[in-house]
């Protein structure tokens, strides 16, 4: 076959994908960094180059720090709870002989296939202060005349409500991931440990966790990146950042500045900070959790 026909074939196969990828992913990403150096607000067409002004303004923006704090809280709290629950349930479902194993696996994964819009609607129904499912249960134990708990209205509580929704959504996903890597640990390892008298709990900490450590490390990075994203999508659908900024997170604040407020340059500067922050944090976590892989 001729050389030129091969070149044409390769070009026709790759160019369309690559072009669209360039236009809708690479250029927008590049634009975030470029636009963060411009003052470009409202509907005026002129952009003025302002250097790092947007970043200096950002370092004094209390609302940004609140969104920073909320994001960090959600990353840490949601990751810890989800991680523990996913790991324990994965170990139970792979290591124990149970009736209905498959049923539980199927059910636990359901939240992951639902739209975030659905999840926020479900949690709005659960957490409604008057007719919510949660308060109606709690009222059985509480004084009849007590003030209802404002799960979504109280500035101190609402961030926990968001965390609850995020955990509910994520446990099944990570559980299935851990189940996959736990299933690849050979049964003989556990048999010899049992012969030496190691109990199930001991096996969990000294065999299962070290043996799937590589997988755990990967998921820790996922936790950071996906919690930054998930907190945005859930907050946007559930509270819109309110009440009074108490659930504002990184990307919801960026979206608000860049899209709703039309301060594009400023919004993109937030984007740059979040981008760098998530990469730095993932890098640190990945370094800290580095262990020598265990050979069998």
């Amino acid at each position: 076959m001729k050389k030129s026909s091969k070149s044409i074939f390769l070009f026709l196969c790759i160019a369309p994908s690559f072009l669209l990828f360039l236009v809708f992913m690479i250029i927008p990403t590049f634009n975030i960094f470029r636009m963060s150096l411009y003052k470009w607000g409202g509907y005026s067409p002129d952009k003025t180059f302002v250097g790092l002004d947007n970043f200096i303004k950002l370092s004094k923006d209390m609302k940004f720090f609140q969104s920073f704090e909320n994001t960090i809280f959600l990353i840490v709290a949601v990751s810890l709870v989800t991680f523990t629950m996913a790991l324990v349930f994965a170990a139970i479902l792979t290591r124990e002989n149970l009736i209905g194993q498959n049923f539980f696996r199927v059910v636990f994964y359901i939240p992951n296939i639902l739209s975030i819009v659905i999840i926020s609607a479900i949690f709005s129904a659960i957490l409604d202060s008057k007719n919510g499912l949660l308060n109606s249960i709690l009222n059985i134990f509480r004084d009849k005349n007590a003030e209802p708990i404002y799960w979504l209205g109280d500035q101190k509580i609402v961030i926990y409500s968001i965390a609850m929704a995020m955990i509910w959504q994520a446990v099944g996903y990570y559980m299935v991931m851990y189940m996959a890597s736990m299933a690849s640990v050979p049964e003989s390892v556990y048999e010899s440990a049992s012969l030496e008298g190691a109990g199930k709990i001991h096996q969990f900490f000294h065999l299962t966790i070290p043996l799937i450590w590589t997988n755990i490390r990967t998921t820790l990075t996922f936790f950071i990146i996906s919690n930054i994203n998930l907190s945005f999508t859930i907050v946007k659908a559930m509270t819109g950042g309110g009440p009074d900024g108490s659930t504002e997170v990184f990307l919801s604040y960026m979206y608000k500045q860049a899209y709703t407020n039309s301060s594009y340059g400023y919004g993109m500067a937030i984007g740059v900070v979040v981008f760098l922050f998530s990469f730095a944090l993932s890098g640190i976590v990945s370094l800290v959790t580095k262990r020598e892989p265990i050979e069998l």
């Binding site: 091969k6 975030i32 539980f104 636990f108 994964y109 639902l114 609607a121 996922f222 990146i225 993109m268």
Partner: protein, 289 residues
Amino acid sequence: MKKKSGKHVLIYCLLIILAILIIVPVGWVFMASLKQNHEFYETPWKLPSGFYVQNFIDAWGSAHMGQYMLNSVIVTAVAIVLLLMLALPASYCLSRFQFKMKKVIQILFMAGLFINVNYIVVPIFLMFVDGEKWLKSMGLEPLFLNNIFILALVYASTALPFTIYLLSGYFVTIPKTYEEAAYIDGSSYFRTMVEVIFPMARPSIITVILFNFLSFWNEYIIAITLLTDPDGSKTLPVGLMNLMKAQNASAQYGRMYAGLVLVMLPTLVLYILVQKKLTQGMMLGGLKG
């Protein structure tokens, strides 16, 4: 033995509690979709007094959910077809042939795995705003915003890195002998790819379709950003968001929950049918944030 069964009871309790925490809220939405409006002021645990199907009729008709559903079906289908038409040939060539620039293209696509659409949705929007201005200066009709086909194109394009990653992983495992035999028979590059290789990639193609069906069907951040016209076309999740906001004002809970059921039902049915395939595919793909 006695100790063992005691431990098992505890384990079952844990499992059942988590299962209840998931099934009850989801089931409750189905129940609520059949309630009449006044029933929402009673205890939320009461069963619906009858099958109030009017909610679904209202949601479908006066709340435009029928129209939105059609839009969602079109966007999802077009995006998946586009994605496959783009990603299949590209991943085949990238995993099979040697050529200049191959490494650069591969590295860029790999980097694309780390770019999340939530970051770049505003720059994409601004690009379209500029595009509309340009079209206007040329005396043409607006094209980019409020267009569900453009939305589908953005969905397909932003799904490319992950899809190419997944498909390439499969193509490298197919032995080269299949193509060599086809070339000897005089088959062209294109025909070999379409008639010999693609049919073999069926399992991976199904995984790609499953994943992207779920993510396109459920997506709402890009949709809400690019479909700006309040009276224009919307996808189901965007329409639902509007209904949720309107819900407080007009207190029409019933049709909102009916709308939720309409969004949820296709994904649940699909999931129950293919759950094994989906969770296996997830283990294969791994990297889907």
